[in-house]
Amino acid sequence: MSRTVLIQPVTRIEGHAKISIQLDDAGQVESARFHVTEFRGFEKLCEGRPFQEMPGLMSRVCGICPVSHVLASSKAGDMLLGVEIPPAAEQQRRLMNYAQILQSHALSFFHLSSPDLLLGMDAPPGQRNIFGLLQHDADFLRRGIRLRQFGQRVIELVGGKKIHPGWSGPGGVQRRFTSAQRDEILGWIPEAAESVSLALERGKRVLDSFRPEIEFLGNFPSLFLGTVNELGGLEYYDGLIRIVDGRGNSIAENLDPKRYATFLGEASEDFSFVKFPYYQPFGYPQGHYRVGPLARLNVAAFAGTPRADCELREFKQRGAGAVCESFHYHLARLIEMLHCVERIEELMAHRDLFEETIQAHASLNRRECVGSCEAPRGTLFHHYWVDPDGLMTRANLLIATAQNNRAMNLAVDQAARRFLKPSSASGEFEEGMLNRLEAAIRCYDPCLSCSTHALGHMPVVVEVFAANGDLVRRIARPPDSQNA
């Protein structure tokens, strides 16, 4: 009799989801899906509010990457005003984005994925968390915590608070950057650079020992989409969209993110609250694409900072034109952390950052706008429509995690087919097998609206269904071992 396995909640991700696995009559995996089981509705609840409120409101989409939503929303607001913001404001926004990507990647790599990487996929679930790391390698953990603290501190210094900073809005930013802030940030740089370098070297060694996971946790060709600068280099704040295929061939160049709706479509599936975006010329599902660290490194010709450039050249050797293994998202994240530390240090010497003018003033000049930037997990689009009074009539958010939705489903399906084999003795699935399915998801570091966690309940469940549709097993971790 066939059956279905359900993993719920999926742990060590930001948000609520479950994995369901359909078994055939022989007990073999027939298919596996990643379901996002929460609904937020920000696109609806913003209607009727003034567009000036959007950066503050939209930042509430997420407690991990609020800066990204503030930036995309602010840029959308800039477009409504029809202004070019002052250089100081642009540099502050860039600084905040680097800090945001650094702290978010540190959270993903050190706090959420390192337990698997350092302790092993089959380690006891109770140890696969940062307290397990504490026993295993305290210095590694300390550096990870400090690295995230650095990113958060930059956000707090510039934006006024670590989470949901409201310092940026249509036309610019609200506070000048000071030399005291620069000095404090510079004080962190040597330690941050050393910690990222050590983690990168360690990461490369450790990741290479996970050959089966590299091979089967989401290894498939796809399109990759990301923002690049005018020279084709890595760009997070403002640039043009580039799309390459799984061999690194250019599919589209110099796409204007403001015109995203002309080249990206949004499909939906009945098993998830998250959209399934695709590249329109290829249709759905053939046009599915990946975004985020792996995609950015695949589309960028260079990083633009010395040490990250060395690492990027080495990274690109791992693929034939493009690196397609989802497990290498981890390595891409480490390289991006190095790049962010280098960029933050560079920015501290940028004279524009200290200029007095930080705000461009104008009244409403447009009725429709798109703001885009690279968030930690990939390209983010905010699309707004307003009435003549500047009140929101409609919004469309295209969030990075959604753009990886089909890829995450493919990764779970591939991982289930490879790793999920019932024990010959008990007929049950070993915990390490199920953990590999979650690890396939964690490669993408999905952010399923991390600001709303049910009290005391962690996010992922695994369900196993029989061929006749009967639920035969449901695996949900008890509260005291949820983060296992």
């Binding site: 407690g63 706090h111 109770g126 968390n129 940062i130 307290f131 397990g132 504490l134 026993q135 305290a138 953990l141 300390r142 915590i145 400090r146 995230r148 603290q149 958060q152 989470i163 966690h453 009290l455 005391g456 962690m458 996010p459 509260p479 005291d480 071992s481 949820q482 983060n483 296992a484």
Partner: protein, 143 residues
């Protein structure tokens, strides 16, 4: 003596903001570093490292009376969930950052965690009582 008071909670969820209210009542006169957070995060372990006294304040829906007690550190390493507890922050801080101070936990009884700002009269009363106790603890007896 370096003292850190950490208030945890969400001011937009009614009484869940009770700990923040206590910090507001204490103000700079307490002589302590006052930190308002929505949740406890591992980074706090580094931030409290050099303190001699740390007090974690939070709303508690499962207690009848105000309590201030020492943070009990678990004998075995705890599993980390999305909701960190003071004991976990203290364990991390002692192990990773050399925290040697005392750690207390102040639990403020509350009843209304629905959406909206402001405390219920009961929570407001407990917040005031907590502020008085903490001032006493810090060597600034009220009134």
């Amino acid at each position: 003596m370096r003292t850190v008071l950490i208030a945890c909670g969400n001011c937009l969820r009614g009484d869940d903001g009770a700990a923040h209210r206590v910090l507001h009542l204490l103000g700079p006169q307490s002589g302590a570093e006052l930190r308002s957070v929505q949740q406890l995060l591992p980074e706090l372990a580094g931030e409290i490292a050099g303190a001699e006294l740390v007090v974690f304040l939070d709303a508690a829906i499962d207690c009848d009376g105000l309590s201030v007690e020492a943070v009990r550190e678990p004998e075995a390493p705890p599993a980390l969930t999305h909701i960190s507890r003071p004991s976990e922050i203290v364990v991390l801080s002692r192990a990773l950052f050399g925290f040697k101070g005392l750690a207390f936990q102040c639990r403020i009884p509350v009843g209304n965690l629905s959406t909206g700002e402001g405390l219920s009269p009961s929570a407001e009363g407990f917040a005031g009582e907590a502020a008085r106790i903490l001032l006493d603890l810090l060597g600034h007896p009220a009134g």
